[in-house]
Amino acid sequence: MAAFGLARNSCGLINGLRVSYRSLVQVKYGAKSACLLQTNIQSDCRWYSVSHLSVKERIEKKRKAAQMGGGQKRIDAQHQRGKLTARERVELLLDPESFVETDMFVEHRCSDFGMEQDANKFPGDSVVTGRGRINGRLVYVFSQDFTVFGGSLSGAHAQKICKIMDQALTVGAPVIGLNDSGGARIQEGVESLAGYADIFLVHPSDLPHHGSLCILTHLMLCLQDTSYLFITGPDVVKSVTNEDVTQEELGGAKTHTAVSGVAHRAFENDVEALLYLRDFFNFLPLSNQDPAPIRECQDPSDRLVKSLDTVVPFESTKAYDMLDIIHAVLDEGDFFEIMPTYAKNIVVGFARMNGRTVGIVGNQPKVASGCLDINSSVKGARFVRFCDAFNIPIITFVDVPGFLPGTAQEYGGIIRHGAKLLFAFAEATVPKITIITRKAYGGAYDVMSSKHLRGDMNYAWPTAEVAVMGAKGAVQIIFRGKENQAEAEAEYVEKFANPFPAAVRGFVDDIIEPATTRKRICRDLEVLASKKQVNPWKKHANIPL
């Protein structure tokens, strides 16, 4: 029940994911062979019961054994695969000497297939759990130990994880999971599935698979070349659909960061992922009850960013890089981009403004003209809700020519997916600041945190064009059949391809010099820090899923 509460309260739960080996491997690293145990089983009583070691010595011995996980050989094998052990990962993630371990003495309770043998008992079982600090800030962490039964999930394993999750909830601290597991422990049968059920209590879901566990976490990071994640593996795929696919193609890091959008970011290796995770952790509040953290800032909040005055090209059809604007405005140009290789026509990520964490959403004119399509809408919506859930103000940079037209999009349900982004922005009660850098056309303008969706401060650059559509299309409709289209187009441009129509109606609060953008945002965030807005009561909102 407590664990369930955790999900309801949405404590910060980041899941560094590493799912490399499936059941196949698990057998290889599983229990020692059954025939061997037949002969041993009689003579092999619990050795400590007859040993003359004192309790103190036995504690020491257990602690030492726990440190070694599945033993030196398997640690070496893990290293050879270019992976770190569970403990090394924890050590790297947390501040030096800050880790406080729990449940080091927990062992699995399985007695089938020779699992009850001492040689098959590992203190701590296949997961390391505890708490520690990242840059001084409290965090609970579990790290699955691949050297013990391939990191497979046993009843005890699940219990350990649930325990720290419960604790995290009571103190209001986040949980980081470092996953490296083959899945459920086959030897345990139903108990391991019960373990799944325990964890699924945290992330209510009907799908009895490890992959679905991860997707329910707030953020998922994975590793290039060694992370795999899927509901069913290539062998099953082959037997069911007769489709030939490799592990990497089906569920590798590239697939999930560029095609499926399941993972939020991929890293080259363990070390890099953990180092980035440490820095990323600093952007987030410890729980949804804390405000967005503020770090000391050396970058002047009133810094004028001259380069922004010329960033938008002269011709309105020419692309530019929205990241140029984003990097120039932020504190120290420090931008942690989320899903940088998925739906690249929208850019989302975390940054700081005058030290305060903000979420950035921006259309990317460089990719597909920055239009909104199904994938970019969903990517944006998920991010906006993340920010709103954790009290992180949202800064939106708008240059959107509209929704992507076509049957592929319509049949795919662009209306309902686009509505997700609209819903997310509309529902968000965190401070929302919007800057229209160039195009803000039609419905897509509305969606992008417009004044109509309760935007707190909406600015337009002098290059902004807030209109229903581009001049050419508009003229073709308004003046259908009229001779002088060019003249009509010029008139339309004069009237609508500028920020005035929106400004005279108060849909943008001000037209600002691009160079002053940083100064404006920082000043507004200061004021909006005390913003309080409550949505009408409902059991839960009904986002168009």
Partner: protein
């Protein structure tokens, strides 16, 4: 639009009301500055991509003269003539390049009664022709390269001619262009041999027996004399500029005066330059270029009938504003100065800062957007002539020059020290630039001692430019700075303000054990902090690093072991990778805690792509020709495609024999640096 009030400029005599500047970039800005000073209205012309350029913003009026390619805009005489008519400009300053030495343009201006701020057409024409200019120079008793051009009958005749000229001599077939089939002879024997080869070649290859035997100038210097002439026959020489440091015949570093010239040589060169100017009735500013050999013999090369790129160094040491002088002269005023009024005040050095990669044949063009740009103008005795600003685009259409950085001082050493500082303080982000090379040149012992020639770069860097080589001490300093920066940023990560539900643990560490990776080497480091300074133990030495550690600033001023050093931090990633600019060169280091470094050793090495079967564009540009298609077999060294960038055609060749797997670009397509062009099997 900036309006200059005329009352503030009473000291300037009236010249023109409005001048059009038929140029772009730094030189357009440079001319506009002087015009403003003189109270003259200015008109800028620009191409469409330049509509946001600095020179356009600076000018009182601006006219778009066409699309980006220079032939359609800055060289488009019709459009520029229209702009003149439209704005009513009374005179045109052509800057350098573009239409500056185009006699047709000068004629067209004359035809509509608009003054061309430069010499008369006949001078442009006379000096524009290489052969004619040499004949005129010879007639004006200017030293020209002694030589013989005609039929040489026997080897002994050749020896006789060579002896008359004086060794070494260069022998080649007259018909052969450029340096083709050129032989150098240092004595009679070599002359005979050279005669044999060249006469055979002349007969067989060209069907033309004539041979050219000319004085060969070994390790020449390129020294030029600035002249200033009015329309009344008065001509002054404004001393010399030393321009020997060149790459691909383009000047990189210039200075005035030259360390090499003594007062007598300078005077003789100056007087000869004046004779030449008088011979062609020259008016305005002009430059007479000479080659100078190691014995201070000098020979006329050519005359440039325009304002030179490197004119600022002359302005620095003479105190004259050459653009102002040109405008006055064009209006018909007499020179105010006499030859004895022309001083050499101190020393000035100019570095041409280019957007180019100096690691590729001393500079291949690079493009990009100047995401951050800060000129070192806070330093004294620094002049920066530039036509760009933060946010400007360096594109493939025009010269990739970012600026001309000029420093001056009472002595050469002073000017050089200031140049070093200025280069270290120059912040350029978003494009690759040649500051690493510039800084190496101006601190190189040979340059400092004045031992230079036009072969300086290939002689000093026979293997190509590789960046600054760190000696042991500098290496320790770099490692220590990187480690200190890393610790500073770690401490900074702990500085979360305000109260949270769960309180933070303070960082109470004062000592750290780190491991810094530089190149392939790992260095163990112990670092301890007290206040703003760090004591770093590295490689058996100890370094003290102090600073104010502002991580938001691109400049990182540090005091390392008591010496002030300006470093720049270009990037700092969570992964521990830091890019620092130190001694002008970029160094990539990775700072990890000792534990992280140990664990990092288990990580698999990233497999780098096989570059022999992949052809990537070495620079941004346009694909001019694609010589292969998928399925073709190419031989080692065979041309695959040609990329044109900034008017330079670069042929890209295969490095092995292979079959072409795929072609990823087409002629006419624009490609970026590192773009995949062709894949081989």
């Amino acid at each position: 639009v900036f309006h200059v009030s005329t009352s503030a400029h009473l000291t300037y005599i009236s010249t023109f009301d409005k001048i059009l500047i038929a140029n772009r970039g730094e030189i357009a800005c440079r001319v506009i500055k002087t015009c403003k000073k003189m109270g003259i209205q200015t008109v800028a012309v620009h191409s469409d991509v330049d509509s946001n350029a600095v020179h356009v913003k600076m000018a009182d009026e601006a006219v778009c003269v066409g699309p980006a390619p220079t032939s359609k805009s800055y060289l488009n005489m019709d459009a520029i003539m229209d702009a003149i008519r439209l704005t009513g400009a009374q005179a045109v300053h052509p800057g350098y390049g573009f239409l500056s030495e185009n006699k047709d343009f000068a004629k067209r201006l004359a035809a509509v009664g608009v003054t061309f701020i430069g010499p008369d057409t006949h001078a442009i024409q006379a000096m524009g022709d290489k052969i004619e200019s040499k004949l005129i120079a010879k007639a004006a008793k200017v030293n020209t390269i002694p030589g013989f051009d005609g039929v040489v009958k026997t080897a002994e005749d050749a020896v006789k001619i060579a002896q008359q000229i004086g060794y070494p001599v260069m022998i080649k077939a007259s018909a052969g262009g450029g340096g083709k089939g050129m032989r150098i002879a240092w004595n009679d024997e070599e002359t005979r041999e050279g005669f044999r080869f060249s006469s055979q070649e002349a007969a067989s290859s060209f069907g033309d027996d004539r041979l050219l035997i000319e004085k060969y100038i070994d390790n020449p210097r390129h020294i030029e004399i600035q002249v200033l002439a009015d329309k009344h026959g008065n001509v002054l020489w404004l001393n010399e500029r030393e321009c020997s440091i060149q790459r691909r015949n383009q000047k990189v570093v210039e200075e005035a005066p030259s360390m090499f010239l003594d007062a007598d040589t300078r005077r003789v060169m100056g007087e000869q330059a004046v004779q030449l100017a008088k011979a062609v009735k020259y008016s305005s500013a002009g430059t007479v270029e000479f080659l100078v050999d190691s014995k201070k013999n000098f020979y006329f090369l050519e005359m440039n009938t325009r304002l030179q790129v490197e004119h600022p160094v002359t302005e620095c040491i003479t105190g004259l504003d050459l653009v102002e002088q040109m405008i006055r002269i064009a209006k018909g005023y007499q020179l105010q100065q006499k030859q004895e009024d022309i001083p050499i005040n101190g020393w000035a050095i100019e570095s041409r800062v280019y957007a180019e990669d100096p690691f590729k044949s001393f500079g291949l063009p690079s493009i990009g957007r100047l995401s951050q740009y800060q000129e070192p103008l806070k330093l004294s005795h620094v002049r920066v002539d530039s036509g760009i600003e933060e946010g400007s685009d360096i594109n493939i259409y025009y010269d990739p020059m970012i600026s001309k950085l000029v420093t001056y001082g009472a002595t050469r050493a002073e000017a050089l020290a200031r140049m070093e500082d200025a280069l270290d303080n120059y912040v350029i982000r978003g494009v690759t630039h040649n500051i690493p090379l510039l800084r190496e040149i101006i601190t190189h012992p040979r340059f400092v001692s004045g031992d230079i020639s036009t072969n300086f770069l290939p002689e000093v860097y026979p293997e190509g430019f590789k960046g600054h080589h760190l000696d042991e001490d500098r290496c320790r300093e770099l490692l220590a700075s990187a480690a200190a920066l890393h610790v500073t940023s770690q401490l900074y990560s702990h500085k979360i303000l305000g109260t949270q539900r769960v309180s933070s643990a303070p960082m109470d560490q004062n000592n750290w054990e780190l491991c810094v990776e530089l190149g392939q080497e790992l260095h163990d480091i112990e670092i301890s902090k007290s206040g703003n300074s760090y004591i770093v133990k590295v490689d058996g030495g100890q370094v003290e690093v102090c600073g104010d550690w502002n991580l938001a600033s691109p400049l990182l001023p540090l005091t390392i072991n008591g010496t002030c050093r300006m470093l720049q931090c270009l990037s700092k990633e969570s992964s521990g990778n830091i890019v620092l600019q130190y001694m002008g060169t970029l160094f990539k280091v990775r700072v990890l805690s000792k534990l992280t470094a140990k664990l990092n050793s288990y990580m698999p090495e990233k497999v780098s792509e096989d570059t022999s079967s992949i052809l990537r564009s070495p620079m941004p540009g346009t694909v001019v020709a694609m010589s292969v298609k998928p399925g073709d077999t190419v031989a080692d060294g065979q041309e695959i495609c040609v990329i044109e960038a900034m008017k330079m055609q670069n042929s890209l060749t295969a490095v092995k024999q292979a079959k072409v797997k795929s072609v990823h670009c087409q002629p006419g397509e624009t490609v970026g640096e590192g773009d995949l062009l062709v894949e081989l099997e």
